[in-house]
Symmetry: C2
Subunit: 260 residues, 2 copies
DNA sequence: CGGATAGTTGAGTTATCTCAAATGCAGTGG
DNA sequence: CCACTGCATTTGAGATAACTCAACTATCCG
């Protein structure tokens, strides 16, 4: 049995203080569905420890941390748990018999891996940490109950579903209908805009922890080919990569490339 | 304003009779979500006309018919209407700026184009009739209300969402990760199994109204290449096509082909 | 420093595309 | 019944984007 009630130390976030207080949130919590459903207790601490859940008004759950490369959802949890990424980068992917992998989405702070998890598990998908990840897991039944209490239930669900469907349609369109350069360009632009929204971009520069294999798996290419495309982009001074950070030098060129 | 209350003559289905009676359903209604939500009044007729909706216990809506190639959902309806295919073949697709089209799903009788429509419109997607189609359109708000009255709401939603997500993941995996033959094979097998479930297949033979362009748009190929693949399949006596009907002659071969 | 992982580069192969012309087929009007 | 029109399908030739394989280099981390 999972111990979702367990509270854990967290060092980097949440201010110290005494007594019961409002939960504090990471910047990335802003658009998080768990927060909008009023289900997330946040990172409020009292005396350096997470406050007991009864006091937060949230749904029972605990923050967990995962090192890079670690699987975030284990087989036995699949049935009952809804995972939400609080910070770090993760990837949600499927695999074929022949061992080919398709990354369906890169997950950033505040992302629910898929709204489907609220209804039932996304069997066949696995979620893996790319960087170290902090993540909160809710019991599905609890989150469903919380969801139904929120008056905007249908509109919240609608927004979440629509956003996800749109992403998935976009992916379907991109794969095999656009040349490799366009796919790469689109992915980079989409990452930039998501990170900007979460205040995690410094101008046109952002953290970029993805391996070329990740890109390849997301874009339906081989790592070798991704390398060649990225090299061309660098040679053309459209992007620059240094110390796991990526800068978009010529956004117009990249946007032009993204079409067709 | 849409006149969803309008009742229309239907000739092919529904038994004639007097007075109020149970709505009759097409064979394809069996797994239809509108029926499971107890929202569909069915095809019951009284005196040759569809019964008034107040008597059916269903949600207001009317059966509409569309000739082949006609768009099923019009721009102004997008906001408020949930379409369900009752009979015939339709396609749900998106288009890029460059005019390329991706068919996301072929819709058969009993199919809701996407469960997303229950929450909000799938902007960017269009639904078109391939064969003549009969289709029922529900007001979103009515269907939402009906949904919440059903105790199995979450599990029904879950099933529908999961099925759709799985289809979409499969599509994502197939595009650009499998060779053309495998994609064609997978599509044919998937159609056969869906049609079998709806009792619309005669052994391994089924109606096959799709143009090669439809296949191409669904599989991320060109029509020319689809033609070549289909020719090879016919030459190898794996399938046979005649008068808009397709027979799978060697299912093992096709299933083998579908993997990799 | 050594070992592992990730990225780069080049040569040769192949699946799929583009273009273009020929054929077939169904419906229409004379 | 025929010629005519508009699609859909077929076929071939050549072009190309992306792949595979394999060796080499750079980077990271203990």
């Amino acid at each position: 049995m999972l111990n979702l009630l367990e509270t854990q130390e967290i060092s980097s976030c949440g201010r110290r203080g005494a007594g019961v207080e409002e939960g504090t949130f990471l910047p990335t919590c802003a658009g998080c569905i768990a927060r909008e459903l009023k289900a997330c207790p946040g990172f409020g601490v009292s005396g350096g420890r997470l406050r007991p859940l009864e006091e937060t008004g949230g749904v029972k759950s605990a923050v967990q941390t995962f090192p890079a490369r670690r699987q975030i959802l284990h087989a036995r949890e699949f049935d009952e748990v809804v995972p939400v990424i609080c910070s770090g980068w993760a990837a949600s992917s499927t695999v074929t018999q022949n061992g080919k992998r398709q990354v369906l989405a890169f997950l950033l702070g505040g992302d629910l891996a898929s709204i489907n998890y609220l209804f039932e598990s996304c069997s066949g998908r696995t979620i893996e940490a790319i960087t170290p990840v902090t993540c909160r897991k809710f019991l599905r039944s609890d989150l469903q109950a919380a969801a139904l209490r929120v008056s905007l239930f249908f509109s919240l669900m609608g927004k979440a579903l629509a956003a996800e469907r749109q992403e998935s349609d976009r992916l379907n369109l991109d794969l095999h209908r656009r040349p490799a350069e366009a796919r790469v360009a689109r992915l980079l632009l989409s990452l930039l805009s998501r990170l900007k929204r979460a205040n995690k971009a410094d101008g046109d520069t952002f953290e970029f922890p993805l391996r070329q294999q990740h890109l390849a798996d997301a874009l339906g290419l081989t790592a070798v080919h991704v390398c060649k495309v990225m090299s061309r982009l660098r040679a053309a001074r459209i992007i620059a990569v240094a110390r796991r950070h990526l800068t978009i030098l010529d956004r117009n060129a990249l946007e032009f490339m993204a079409e067709r």
